[in-house]
């Protein structure tokens, strides 16, 4: 292992990850602020009014990034959980646990902003179509993961149970993403995808992408803060935690 350029296994130990995360957090908060301010400014002052929906369409600047994050965070969470299950690394379970609340928040935001948009545009707060229902299931998966982990006292067993739930739930992610293609849904198809040019005006697109970046940075910053708290909590009995300046005081 020692001939590797970076020793990844070193950072898999909570003891060395804790200070590293601490150093990264301010940077991610700064990036959140930069992208967030630029994104909001573009979204509200530069992007033109939509021809059909009027000003109401501006909810996509929150709705779409939140939906993307809710799906992506789940994949990352499940990947960490799977890694923990396969390799028995301590940090993996903590990362999965740290990501879950942020993912749940994103899924909730996605559902809530969608409802606010749906009422004036579609004429309904909620419709049981495939896209909306699978996103709701994603929200429940997050809540279920959090509840299951919290219900088991032994952190190792809690991680294992949570990991299995998280991995089974991964099936839902492609269903959410492709639901608008596979079935007749009220929810429109993707405006932005990897396979075709985006079907929206340039400034709208930039506003949305900047907001997505801001959501990314926010999620990373918050997850790192949370994982630091989890590390301290789970490793309270260890020597290195007792020797931390912040803990001694």
């Amino acid at each position: 292992m020692s001939n590797r350029l970076i020793n990844w296994f070193k950072f898999a130990s909570p003891q060395s990850f804790y200070p590293l995360a601490g150093k990264m957090i301010p940077w991610f908060w700064a990036l959140t602020a930069v992208f967030g301010i630029a994104g909001l400014w573009l979204s509200f002052f530069v992007a033109p009014t939509d021809a059909v929906q009027g000003e109401g369409y501006r909810i996509i600047f929150i709705h779409v990034p939140a939906s993307w994050m809710s799906m992506f965070i789940y994949l990352v969470m499940a990947a960490w959980a799977g890694l923990g299950l396969a390799l028995n690394t301590r940090l993996s379970g903590m990362m999965a646990q740290a990501l879950a609340p942020t993912g749940a928040l994103m899924a909730f935001l996605s559902l809530w902003t969608g409802a606010l948009w749906g009422k004036p545009m579609w004429g309904a707060w909620w419709v049981w179509d495939a896209r909306l229902t699978s996103e709701l299931i994603l929200f429940f998966l997050y809540i279920g993961f959090i509840a299951l982990q919290a219900a088991i006292d032994d952190p190792r067993r809690a991680d294992k149970a949570g990991a299995i739930l998280a991995l089974v739930g991964v099936v839902n992610i492609p269903i959410i993403y492709f639901s608008v293609k596979w079935w007749n849904t009220l929810h429109q198809g993707a405006s932005v995808s990897l396979t075709k040019s985006p079907s929206m005006a340039q400034t709208m697109l930039w506003g949305m992408l900047l907001m997505a970046l801001a959501f990314w940075m926010y999620s990373i910053a918050v997850a790192l803060m949370r994982v630091r708290a989890i590390i301290l909590e789970r490793e309270t009995h260890t020597e290195w935690v007792k020797e931390l300046e912040a803990v001694k005081r």
Binding site: A86, L87, G123, I175, L186, G189, S191, M200, A201
Partner: protein
């Protein structure tokens, strides 16, 4: 095989199994997951009989007629048409030539009585000037066709 590799193989195998199971379930549920049927499917007799269901399609150009509080219009998928009657408030995005989903019952005379009308928005977002240009281009194209 190291235990670590064994566990990884087990997890990957489990995920593949879950994936296949989910694919089979979704395949079996296919027609039940669809939020609406199209007018062609209704014409082919695929709509549930004597039950409320949803039809999705375009509101036919020039078909919207108001009679007091009742709105009559035709929903179409360009192949088949279905006349719809609806009493109530229409959503803002409801327009001729745009997508809509109607919920209600099909009468014996082939007329659909809707209890709910939803507007379906497409994935295009553009400023009014661009929309105007697109409309003009489409009109020009139409007038070119015989």
């Amino acid at each position: 095989m190291k235990p670590r590799h064994k566990r990884t193989a087990l997890i990957v195998g489990g995920l593949v199994a879950i994936g296949i199971a989910a694919a089979l379930v979704l395949n079996a549920l296919d027609s039940n997951i669809a939020l609406y049927v199209t007018p062609s499917e209704v014409a082919a007799g695929k709509a549930p009989q004597g039950k409320a269901f949803r039809i999705g399609g375009m509101v036919k150009e020039g078909s919207v007629a108001r009679d007091n509080l009742t709105v009559n219009f035709v929903i179409t998928d360009t192949a088949k048409d279905i006349p719809v009657a609806y009493t109530g408030i229409l959503p803002d995005l409801f327009k001729e030539g745009k997508g809509a989903v109607v919920q209600g019952r099909l009468g014996p005379d082939g007329k659909f009585t809707a209890t709910e009308v939803l507007a379906k928005h497409d994935e295009n977002y553009m400023p009014p000037a661009a929309q105007h240009a697109v409309d003009q281009a489409q009109k020009a194209q139409k007038s070119l066709q015989p």
